[in-house]
C-alpha cells in the first residue's frame, strides 16, 4: 500500500512473531489446555513444555497459544464486521442524508450514550461465556467509530469539487466510490482498524479479567491473569506470560497503525 515506516516494520515483526508462536503450538506441540497434572504444578520450562506449567500443572504454552489464537480471531472478526458495516452505513448516511442519516445517527447516539465496555459487559451477561455474543458486542461498539468518521468524510467529499466535477461529467456512484471516496478513506480505515483490533483485544481481556467473558477452562488472556494472580510469589514468571502477551499483541496493532495518535 505505502512505504512502511520503522514503527510499522517492528509492529508487523512483532505481530507475525506472535502469530508464528500461536501457529507453531497448534502444528507441533498440540497441547491440551485443560489437561491437569497437579503434581507438576509450576514446573519450569523444558523442550516439551517451553513455557512451563501453571498451578494445575496445565501446559502454559498450550494455554497461551490458545488464548492468543482466541484474541487474534476476535480482533480480526470484529474488525472485519465493524469496518464493513461502519464504512457502508457511514457512506449511506453521508451520501443520502435525510431519513437514513437520521435513523442511523440515532442508533449511534444510543450506542454512544453508554461507555463501550459497559455495553460489552451487559451483552456478555446475556449469554455468559459465549464467544459469539462477545464478538457481536465488541463489533457493535467498534463500528461506531468507522460510521462517524466515514459519514463526516462522505458529507464533505460529496460537496467537494472533485466529486462535483465527476458528477457533472456524468460519472455514476460506483466510479465516485472507486476514484474519490475510497482513496480518501483508505488510510483512515486502515488506522481505525489497527486501533480497533487493539481495542478488541483489550476489551476481551478486560471482561475476562472481571470473570464476565469466556469461562474456565477456556484459555483467555485476561482470565489467565486473574487465575494466576494469587500465585504471583510462587511463580511470577507464569503471571508475566499473559501480561506480556497482551501488551505485545496490542502494541503490535498500535505500531502497525503507523501513527501514534488515534
Amino acid at each position: 500500500m505505502m512505504g512502511l515506516n520503522t514503527s510499522q516494520r517492528w509492529g508487523f515483526a512483532l505481530l507475525f512473531g506472535l502469530i508464528a508462536l500461536a501457529g507453531a503450538e497448534a502444528l507441533f506441540w498440540q497441547g491440551d489446555i485443560a489437561l491437569q497434572q497437579l503434581d507438576a504444578a509450576f514446573e519450569g520450562p523444558s523442550l516439551a513444555e517451553p513455557f512451563g506449567r501453571d498451578h494445575f500443572g496445565r501446559s502454559n504454552f498450550a494455554r497461551l497459544a490458545s488464548a492468543l489464537r482466541t484474541s487474534l480471531l476476535m480482533a480480526i472478526c470484529s474488525v472485519a464486521l465493524s469496518s464493513v458495516l461502519g464504512v457502508a452505513l457511514g457512506m449511506a448516511a453521508g451520501w443520502k442524508r435525510g431519513a437514513v442519516d437520521r435513523t442511523l445517527s440515532f442508533v449511534v447516539n444510543v450506542l454512544l450514550a453508554l461507555p463501550g465496555l459497559i455495553l460489552v459487559l451487559l451483552f456478555g451477561a446475556l449469554i455468559p461465556g459465549s464467544f459469539a455474543m462477545l464478538y457481536l458486542a465488541i463489533s457493535l461498539v467498534l463500528w461506531v467509530d468507522y460510521f462517524r468518521l466515514i459519514r463526516a468524510r462522505t458529507i464533505s467529499l460529496i460537496r467537494s469539487p472533485e466529486v462535483e466535477a465527476s458528477r457533472l461529467y456524468g460519472f455514476g456512484v460506483w466510479y465516485i466510490f472507486k476514484r474519490h471516496l475510497w482513496p480518501n478513506f483508505r488510510k483512515d480505515v486502515y488506522t481505525l482498524s489497527c486501533f480497533g483490533a487493539g481495542n478488541a483485544v483489550l476489551a476481551l481481556a478486560s471482561i475476562g479479567f472481571v470473570y464476565v467473558g469466556l469461562k474456565p477452562p477456556h484459555a483467555e488472556l485476561g482470565l489467565m491473569m486473574v487465575e494466576l494472580f494469587p500465585y504471583y510469589s510462587d511463580a511470577p514468571w507464569v503471571l508475566l506470560q499473559p501480561l506480556c502477551a497482551v501488551i505485545c499483541l496490542v502494541l503490535s496493532f498500535h505500531m502497525i497503525a503507523g501513527t501514534v495518535d488515534e
Binding site: 453508554l114 465496555l117 459497559i118 459487559l121 446475556l126 478486560s206 501480561l243 495518535d261
Partner: protein, 315 residues
Amino acid sequence: MLIKILGRRLAQAVFVAWAVGTLTFFLMNLLPGDFAYRIAAGRYGYDYVNQAAADAVRAELGLDRSVWLQYLDWFRDLLRFNLGDSLVSGNPVSQELAHQLGHSLQLALFASLLSLLIAVPLGLYAGRQVGSALDRASLFISVLLRAQPVFVIGLVLVLIFALQFQLLPVAGFGGSRYLILPALSLALSMAALSSRMIRNATHQVLGSSYYQFARFKGLSEQQAFTHHAQPNIALPVVAFIGIQAVSLIEGIVMIESLFSWPGIGHALAHAIFGRDVPMIQGAALVMGLLFVLINLLVDLCCYWLDPRQREEGLQ
C-alpha cells in the same frame, strides 16, 4: 445554546436508561429457572422459600402477564428509580448503590485530579519543547501504557509497590493509603493519552499565526502565553476530558474489581458474575448517568470557555 446542551445530555440520559433497561429486561427473561422463585428467595431467603411464596410474588409483580406489559412495567419502575431488591443480598438496590456511589466518586475524582497533575505539566512542557528528550520519552511511555489494559497497569503497580516493597496495601478499603494504588493506575492510564493531547494542543497553539502575531504586537513570551495561548489550549483539553470519561468509567470497573474497591464498578462486575439482575440494572444505570453527568459538566465548561458558543446562542 445552553438549552441545546442540556437537551442533548438529557436525551443521552434517556438513551442510557432505555438501553440499560432493555438489556437487563432481556437478561431477566433469559435467566434459567423461575424468576418469581428467585425474587421470593431474595426476599425470604432460600431456606424459607416455597412454591406458594413464589406464586404470591408472581401475582404481586404481575409476572404472569404478557412480555410487553411486563416490559412497560419495567420502565415505569425504572423511571421512578424503583430498582428493586438485590437477588443476592436482598437489600434494596438503591440503598446499596447510594453507599457504593460515594466510593466510586472518591476514586474517580482523585484519579482524575492525579491524571491532570501528571498530564498538564508534562504535556505543556513537551509541547513547548517538541523533539526534546523528555518529549520523546513521554511518547515512548505513553505508547507503552496505552498498549495495556488499565488492570495490567494496576497489577504491575501492585507487584512493585505492594508485594515487592510492601509500601502500600494490595487491595481493600480503609484509609487514604488504600486509595493510592487504584487511583494511580487509573491516572496513569488516562494521563498516557491526555498528556499527548495537551502536548499536541500546545504545539499547535504555539505555532499558530495568532500566537506569532501576539508576539509581533509587542507582548512578551510570558504575556502572549498567558493571554493568548492558555485559553486556546484549555478549550480542546477540556473537551478531551469529556472523551476520556469513557476510559474513566471503564477503568473504574476494572480497577475496582482488581483492588476490591467497594464501588459501583466492582458491584457491577460482581452482579454480572452472580446474575443479580436488579443490581446489574442499577449499577449500569448509575455508571451510565455518571458518564452523562461528566459530559454535561465538560459541555458547560466549554461553553464558559468559548465565547463563540455563547455568541451563537444570542444570534
